[in-house]
C-alpha cells in the first residue's frame, strides 16, 4: 500500500537550494514542520481572530449610517471594509510576536552562546525560523481568510493591474523585513538593559494605532496624518494595504517604496551594528 504523505512530511520534502544557504534552508524546513504540528490550534485562533474584524466592519457601517455621507476622507463603505481586510494581510507579514522578547531572554539567560559556539549566524537563523512560521501561518490561515475574502468579494473592484500587484508584493516583502529587523533591534537593547519587555509593551500598544492597523491614517486630522506617514510604522500595515487598493499610485507609490526600502535597510544595519557592539559587552551569564 502506498504510504500517505502528511503535511509535515511534505514540508520536509521541499527541495533544497544550492549552498551557501543550505543550512538556513534546513532550519526553515524544520521550523515549518514544528509549526504544522499544531494545525488545530492555528485554525481555532484564526477563527477567533475574525471577531474583532467583524465588529470593526459593523462599527464603520454604523459610522457611515450616522454621518449620512458616501465617503469619509476618500474612503467609501466598500473601501473601508477592503482596507480593514487588507491590513490583516499586511500584519500577516509584518507582525513578529515574541521576537524581541526572545532575543532579550536569550541574552539575559546566557542562551545566546548556543549561536556563538556553532557555525551559525543568529540573525540569519532567526530570519529562517520566522519565515517558516510566517509560511506555516499563511498556509493554515489561507482557507478561513480565503472564505472571508470570498464572502466580502463585493468590496473589491477586481484585481489591480500587474504592476500594482508587483509593487504590492515588494511592499509586503519589505514590511516583513521592517517588522523583523525593528523587533530584532529592540531585542538587541537587551545587551544594555536586562528588561526590555516593558518597553516592548509600550511600543506594541502605540504601534497598533500609528501603523494604521485600527483605521486608515487619512482619517486623522491632516497634521497627524502627515506626521505618522513620516514614520516607519505605517509600512507595517497602512502602506501595503493602500498600494493594493490603488490609493497610492504614480510618484507617491514610488516615493513610498523607496522610503520603505530605506527604513528596511536602516533597521537591518541597526540590528547588525547593535548585535556586533552588544557581543563585546556580552558575558554569557547563566545557562
Amino acid at each position: 500500500m502506498k504510504p500517505t504523505l502528511s503535511v509535515s512530511d511534505a514540508a520536509l520534502a521541499l527541495p533544497a537550494p544550492a549552498s551557501p544557504f543550505k543550512k538556513y534552508w534546513k532550519i526553515l524546513r524544520i521550523s515549518l514542520v514544528e509549526r504544522l504540528v499544531y494545525r488545530a490550534d492555528f485554525i481555532v485562533s484564526t477563527i477567533f481572530r475574525f471577531l474583532p474584524l467583524v465588529t470593526s466592519f459593523l462599527l464603520w457601517q454604523a459610522v457611515f449610517d450616522g454621518s449620512q455621507q458616501q465617503s469619509l476622507s476618500g474612503f467609501d463603505r466598500r473601501r473601508m471594509i477592503a482596507y480593514l481586510l487588507m491590513v490583516q494581510i499586511s500584519r500577516m507579514f509584518s507582525s513578529m510576536p515574541g521576537l524581541a522578547g526572545g532575543i532579550a531572554r536569550d541574552i539575559r539567560d546566557g542562551n545566546l552562546k548556543k549561536y556563538l559556539l556553532q557555525p551559525i549566524d543568529m540573525i540569519a537563523y532567526l530570519v529562517s525560523y520566522r519565515a517558516a512560521h510566517k509560511m506555516a501561518y499563511i498556509v493554515t490561515s489561507a482557507l478561513p481568510y480565503g472564505l472571508l475574502f470570498f464572502l466580502c468579494r463585493d468590496v473589491f473592484d477586481g484585481w489591480p493591474d500587474l504592476l500594482t500587484l508587483l509593487a504590492y508584493a515588494v511592499s509586503l516583502a519589505l514590511a516583513f523585513l521592517i517588522g523583523f529587523f525593528f523587533e530584532a533591534t529592540i531585542g538587541m537593547i537587551g545587551f544594555w538593559f536586562l528588561e526590555v519587555t516593558s518597553f516592548l509593551y509600550i511600543i506594541n500598544t502605540v504601534n497598533f494605532f500609528v501603523s494604521g492597523h485600527m483605521f486608515p491614517l487619512d482619517l486623522l486630522p491632516p497634521f497627524w496624518s502627515h506626521m505618522l506617514q513620516l514614520l516607519p510604522f505605517q509600512y507595517l500595515a497602512y502602506f501595503p494595504a493602500m498600494v493594493f487598493l490603488e490609493m497610492k499610485t504614480g510618484q507617491e507609490l514610488v516615493i513610498g517604496l523607496v522610503m520603505e526600502l530605506f527604513w528596511a535597510v536602516l533597521f537591518i544595519v541597526l540590528a547588525r551594528v547593535l548585535f556586533k557592539f552588544g557581543l563585546r559587552r556580552y558575558s554569557a551569564y547563566g545557562g
Binding site: 454621518s67 455621507q69 494605532f209
Partner: protein, 269 residues
C-alpha cells in the same frame, strides 16, 4: 453567614498578600499603568476620530458613547484585577499537576482557583475608566437620578457576574486543552463583543448574530445593559433578562467547572 465571612477574611488576606508582592516590583507596576494609559488614549483618539465624522453611532450620541467607552475600560480593568490572571494560570496548574495542592486545601476550589491573587497593577484602569464615565456624565449634562444610579450599580454587578461566568467556562476548558496557554488572548478576542453598542449589529446577517450574542450567549449584555441604564431609555425587560442570565451563567459555569475538575487526572504530579 459564618462561611461567607470566612471567605471575605480569606480574600482580604490574599488581596493584602498580592499587594505586598506587587509593591516589590514597583517599576513593573508603573510601566503597566503607562501602557494602560496609552491604551485608553488610543481608544479616546479612535473615539474622537469617529465623532469627527459623525454625531451618532448606532443611535448613541457623543457623550453616551463616551460613557460606554469608559464603562468598557473600567469593567475590563475590574475583571483583570480580580480574575484574569488567576484564570490565565489555570492551564499551567493543570499541565504541571500543581492543581493537586489547591484541591487538597479545605476550601472551595472555584474560589481558590479564580480569586487567589489580585492583580493590583490593573486596578488603576477602574479609576481611569470611571474618570471617563464621569467626564461623559458632566459634559453630557446628565441629571442626577438616584434610581438610575442604583439600577446601574445592580446591572454593574450583573455584568461582572456574567463576564466572570464566561471567563470561568473558558478556564474550565483548560482541563481538556492543556496547551491552552493563550486564554488571555482568547478572552481578549471574545470580549471584543462587549466593546461596542449592540445596536451596531444591524443588517441581514448581523442582526441575528446580535440577538444570538445578546440572548443565547449574552456576552454583549455585560457592557450594554449598565451603560444603557445610565445614559439611555431603560428597558425593564432587558434588565430583568440580564439579571436572570447572570444567575443561569454563574450556575452553569460552576457546574461545568466542577465537571471539569472531576475529569482532571493529575497527570504530571
Amino acid at each position: 453567614m459564618h462561611q461567607f465571612l470566612r471567605y471575605v477574611r480569606l480574600w482580604t488576606a490574599l488581596a493584602r498578600f498580592s499587594l505586598v508582592r506587587e509593591l516589590a516590583f514597583r517599576t513593573n507596576f508603573l510601566v503597566k499603568i503607562v501602557v494602560e494609559m496609552l491604551w485608553l488614549a488610543i481608544l479616546i483618539a479612535f473615539y474622537e476620530t469617529i465623532f469627527a465624522k459623525t454625531s451618532m453611532v448606532a443611535g448613541w450620541d457623543r457623550y453616551q458613547y463616551l460613557f460606554f467607552l469608559g464603562f468598557y475600560f473600567a469593567l475590563g480593568g475590574l475583571l483583570e484585577t480580580l480574575f484574569l490572571e488567576n484564570c490565565n494560570n489555570f492551564a499551567d496548574l493543570v499541565r504541571t499537576g500543581d492543581l493537586d495542592f489547591y484541591l487538597l486545601k479545605p476550601m472551595d476550589e472555584q474560589f481558590l482557583v479564580s480569586c487567589r491573587t489580585i492583580d493590583w497593577s490593573c486596578a488603576p484602569n477602574v479609576l481611569m475608566g470611571a474618570g471617563v464615565m464621569l467626564a461623559a456624565l458632566v459634559f453630557g449634562g446628565w441629571e442626577f437620578d438616584v434610581g438610575r444610579l442604583l439600577l446601574f450599580l445592580i446591572t454593574l454587578v450583573c455584568g461582572t457576574g456574567l463576564a466572570y461566568g464566561f471567563l470561568l467556562l473558558l478556564t474550565a476548558a483548560s482541563v481538556w486543552f492543556m496547551r491552552n496557554q493563550s486564554l488571555f488572548e482568547m478572552w481578549w478576542l471574545f470580549s471584543t463583543l462587549m466593546r461596542y453598542p449592540r445596536e451596531i449589529f444591524s443588517g441581514t446577517w448581523a442582526y441575528p448574530a446580535g440577538l444570538f450574542f445578546s440572548f443565547v450567549i449574552p456576552i454583549m449584555l455585560v457592557t450594554n445593559v449598565p451603560a444603557q441604564v445610565m445614559m439611555r431609555a431603560i428597558e425593564p425587560k432587558l434588565v430583568a433578562y440580564a439579571a436572570a442570565a447572570t444567575g443561569v451563567v454563574l450556575w452553569a459555569s460552576r457546574r461545568f467547572f466542577k465537571f471539569a475538575l472531576e475529569r482532571y487526572r493529575s497527570a504530571s504530579s
